[in-house]
Point group: C2
Chain length 322, copies 2
């Protein structure tokens, strides 16, 4: 059993630990419990994860905050410069404009497209539960396609100047943003970082400079669903849940799945029991009690089938459960 | 003597007080000490002030903060929407794009343009002291022209999402900005507010809403420099300062000058002794001791000349010194 408590802060100890203990950790397959149900009665077995690239940038204009009466209109305003940079990162069709950003992004195969169509995903309900009525991303793509198979560029935080109550007529010296990219397929996080940084530099007007800070990277991953473990898991879950498990994508990033592959040479299977309305990473996050109890029983069933079905004890799979 | 301590917070008590005490307050002219020197040895007599319009806007997209893995790429991101709105407020030549924004803005008369040219304003030095090398506003206009005679639209503050140390892959539900406009000539602050708000509404994508908060307004003002008070003041200042006083503009906004005119029917003459490097409204603001002492003596000289020169005592001007 492998417990990791650093994931939300970039897992600084994880890679060194895995590298040092590779022999002991290596198994036939890694089972990861960090994802969600497809529907309240339908478990999901994740077959693809998006990667993540986090960048923080600070644009600096004048050497100090200025009075907007004295310098307004004549000094470069870094908050306006930053807004212009962010606005330039997408075109009017929702596509990301960073050069070579889509290198390594493949269109869905007809098989997977048909499979996902068959899931009858309730796009309207998914959006409605957070107050939205239509998918806002790339034109001509479904919500499910956007979340599971398309890369993103999002602003996670932005700040500059006076942000308290009332008003100050200050021209800020600096403005900053935290921007993250979800990556898919064979997109190379390092190449995208370089291309992003070059594009930002090229958009800077005179008298402005920019500093970047890196906040972790992971590539996207796709699992080989023809591994017998996937069918065995689906069978095991059918004893616990009313609906057959669905092979699904996951819009989030679980860097450890990539590390299992690259450091330990091990595929991962992700099965989890979170519900759409758990509000993960939001205020008032919760975990459903039914998911908790059925999840415990589900894992017992999966381990039982993975380990023993059709095998003698000495052939038991070695499993790393994360 | 009239002391006002509320100016930086919108002067909520000022207008009611002036209206209630109009008879007692009314004088031949208001003398205001709230501006700066033109150069370290050259006093400035202000002949025009920019007005001010402050607006705060909050763009709301999804009903709560979201996980960027779960909703990234598919949910409207209010920080991106806000950036796009801000980026749209200026065109590539630095002109403000709000419809009818420039109504009431006049080009400089050849006389004033020549007068300002004669001031030999050190544009490079003015910019260099805050780390800038060129004026960033409307193309084809000098820095002095921009500050004294052109309106602005500036971001004074922007914020949304996660802005602390490290990284959170949150999609913010809201993003906000404080935006102010410096106004000149006959620009109507109320008409500009309406036009700004309509433009912002028109730029909102589906599933986004916006709320506005008003942060005070004042129109720009221009003084009639043919009033004999202006020449008398210039003469009085020549006894105190090595260089003759310059008739100058002021990029800042001193709403009380407008109130003196509209409520008390009284022109204002603004003479002050701040220095360019006082860092007003910035951290470590200071006031120069030489300015303080020479300023005290300057006002004594101005009052002396204004009150007594060529007049008998019973003809003394009534003066409201602010």
């Amino acid at each position: 059993m492998f417990f990791e408590g650093e994931e939300e802060s970039g897992s600084p100890s994880l890679v060194p630990f895995m590298t040092e203990n590779a022999e002991e950790l290596t198994a036939d397959i890694a089972l990861i419990c960090d994802t969600g149900l497809f529907g309240n009665d339908t478990p999901g077995i994740v077959t693809r994860l998006r990667g993540l690239l986090g960048e923080e940038l600070t644009v600096t204009g004048p050497s100090k905050d200025l009075h907007s009466g004295m310098y307004g209109g004549v000094s470069m305003n870094p908050a306006r410069v930053l807004a212009k940079i962010i606005a330039a990162l997408h075109d009017d069709t929702g596509r990301i404009t960073i050069p070579n950003f889509y290198d390594g992004v493949r269109e869905l195969s007809p098989e997977i497209a048909a499979q996902w169509d068959g899931l009858k995903f309730d796009s309207d309900g998914f959006l409605a539960q957070v107050g939205l009525s239509e998918p806002a991303g790339e034109k001509g793509r479904t919500a499910l396609e956007m979340i599971w198979s398309r890369p993103t560029c999002e602003v996670n935080g932005i700040w500059g100047g006076y942000t308290g109550a009332g008003f100050k007529t200050v021209l800020p010296s600096q403005a900053s943003a935290k921007i993250s990219f979800r990556l898919v397929g064979q997109q190379d996080p390092n190449a995208i970082r370089e291309s992003f940084r070059s594009m930002v530099q090229s958009l800077l007007p005179p008298d402005c400079s920019v500093e970047f800070r890196e906040h972790g990277t992971s590539a996207g991953s796709e699992m080989a669903t023809d591994d017998p473990a996937f069918e065995a898991a689906r069978e095991a879950l059918s004893d616990e849940w009313p609906q057959a498990a669905a092979f699904v994508g996951c819009g989030g990033s679980i860097p450890i799945a990539g590390h299992f592959k690259t450091i330990l040479g091990m595929d991962a299977m992700l099965i989890g029991f979170a519900r759409d309305n758990d509000a993960i990473h939001s205020p008032n996050e919760k975990y459903d009690q039914r998911s908790f109890h059925k999840g415990i029983r589900s894992w017992a069933r999966i381990l039982h089938l993975q380990c023993f079905q059709g095998r003698k004890l000495e052939q038991t799979l070695k499993i790393l459960l994360f």
